[in-house]
Symmetry: C2
Subunit: 319 residues, 2 copies
């Protein structure tokens, strides 16, 4: 348990950032895990601009809290890409124009040496979802975005595995006759349900292609109906895979596609109900009871990022 | 670390049993985890006979070690079925004719009150496989038997999940056009590759129906070829699911089907090589490097059972 007052006599806060392709969420949380400040800003492109975004976000939080006697004790950042075990380095954050990014050199010195940590954004969201769920049991966070991936936290431990592919369920094939995935397999969950893959098959461009697919399906368009059916089947498969491997208490859905809200969930619930009707075993899993969808604009990934810093390499790394 | 000498001055040993449908393996291991005694005997049918089998196995180990000054400090038992969290009770051990079995009342008093524990046999084997692998990283034990299930141990923790279905990957559907599973779904991994399901579709009876299927396939029989192809596809799917969810360092294959040895592995390796050839991502997972098959007659489940006792409810239970 962290003390409510730091060695400087000021109230210690942890900062967490979720640096996404377009926007960055920033939160400051107190020792109880409550959010005491929250900001959203645009993300810059490329490593220098990302570093500037992080520093600007921390500064905005500081300004928001300027009347309070607080101290930022750590800054944890979630972003797409792969962490390098035992470091504060992130690789292949393609959406951000970043090949490699080292928090320790790019950010920490400009924060007065505050402890920093970095985590894959889906894994950070999983940690946030676990906290949201009361820090007990097993939680799977299922990110439904351009790609499909999951983060799993059990009894406070983020599952990492040997080579960083734990939770990469998007590339489990669930249909040998399904659409070709960019990974080379057929019928991957991500090929069926990933926002990128569905938009590509839809092929009509647009700002919100998945919304367009749902609109078309609602209007009876055959192609829209097929793509929506495949998408829903992929999401349901991801949920089943997570429950049958991890037996998580809760499957927390987040990511861009959850912006569809009930339009998505109604169909996912139908698909799960249909498979439960055919299978007493599926019924016994009580999948619908385990499903939770994050509220739009939820800062769960930023909260999770705050919780990892600066303990990543000690508490959460199990490479 | 356990001391090498117990409070009685005798060398403390842990007993582990793997109570299977036909035979029971029994081991005694020392504080270093080395097997110092090993017995195999027939399993009785029904709760009373199972209790007698356990007591007889412990007695046989004691006789084998009679010249040594040893003390059995715990007895851990692996058997098919579902444990009741926080107890030494096992439910639905169908293969043993057991609806419910309580080690604490059926066995412990007749062992002079020695600490007892019980664990699902696949999970016990996973714990044994983890020890065999040096007690580091993440291990998935994939049981290829009448059914298909996995046990996963990461950083010393057995994954349980919320309702005991962690590792029940046999009922992940990987082909919507696949054979009907007894669970009601189509194309479950277990429907494709479970010894029971394959034997049923083969439908010719016999002592070793899966061996017969492989023989028929070798002889060019069309039905044999199809069933073997499906079986291999199911095993490969199970391996991919485990790596993509848990990213285990090692996937340890055990269970009755592994009695086929290289006859099985050659085809599984081919199937994995084929999917790797089509997918750089699959290649990057290096699945063949992670695969290990237990030696025939391996006592890994008994060793794992010894390691759970008597700490199940403290160290391993995370319900």
């Amino acid at each position: 348990m962290q003390s409510a007052v730091s060695s400087t006599g000021r109230r210690p806060l942890k900062v967490g950032l979720d640096v996404g392709g377009t926007k960055t969420d920033a939160v400051a949380i107190d020792a109880k895990g409550d959010v005491v400040a929250l900001r959203r800003l645009r993300t810059g492109w490329g490593p220098d601009a990302v570093a500037d975004t992080i520093l600007a976000a921390v500064e905005e939080l500081r300004l928001e809290l300027r009347d309070d006697d607080v101290e930022f004790v750590s800054v944890g950042v979630g972003m797409p890409g792969q962490t390098v075990p035992g470091t504060a380095r992130m690789r292949h954050a393609v959406n951000l124009g970043v090949t490699e990014f080292d928090m320790a050199t790019a950010v920490a010195p400009r924060l007065g040496g505050v402890a920093v940590a970095v985590e894959n954004d889906v894994k950070a969201a999983a940690i946030g979802a676990y906290a949201m769920h009361g820090n007990v049991g097993t939680i799977a966070y299922l990110n439904l975005g351009t790609g499909i991936a999951a983060g799993i936290v059990s009894d406070g431990i983020l599952w990492r595995g040997a080579r960083g592919t734990a939770g990469e369920i998007g590339h489990i094939s669930v249909d040998p006759q399904g659409p070709l995935c960019r990974c080379g397999q057929r019928g991957c969950i991500e090929a069926l349900a990933g926002g990128g893959a569905v938009a590509e098959r839809w092929g009509q461009g647009g700002e919100l292609p998945i919304r367009d697919v749902f609109d078309a399906a609602d209007g009876g368009d055959e192609r829209g109906l097929l793509l929506r059916e495949e998408l829903v089947r992929g999401v349901a498969a991801a949920i089943r895979v997570l429950v049958l491997t991890t037996d998580a208490d809760a499957i927390v859905l987040g990511g861009g596609l959850t912006g569809l809200g009930d339009r998505l969930m109604t169909h996912v619930d139908q698909e799960l109900a249909q498979s439960a009707a055919a299978s007493a075993f599926m019924t016994s899993l009580r999948l619908p009871e385990r499903l939770q969808m994050l509220a739009p604009g939820s800062a769960v990934a930023a909260i999770g990022a705050a919780l990892i810093g600066p303990t990543t390499t000690e508490d959460y790394h199990h490479g």
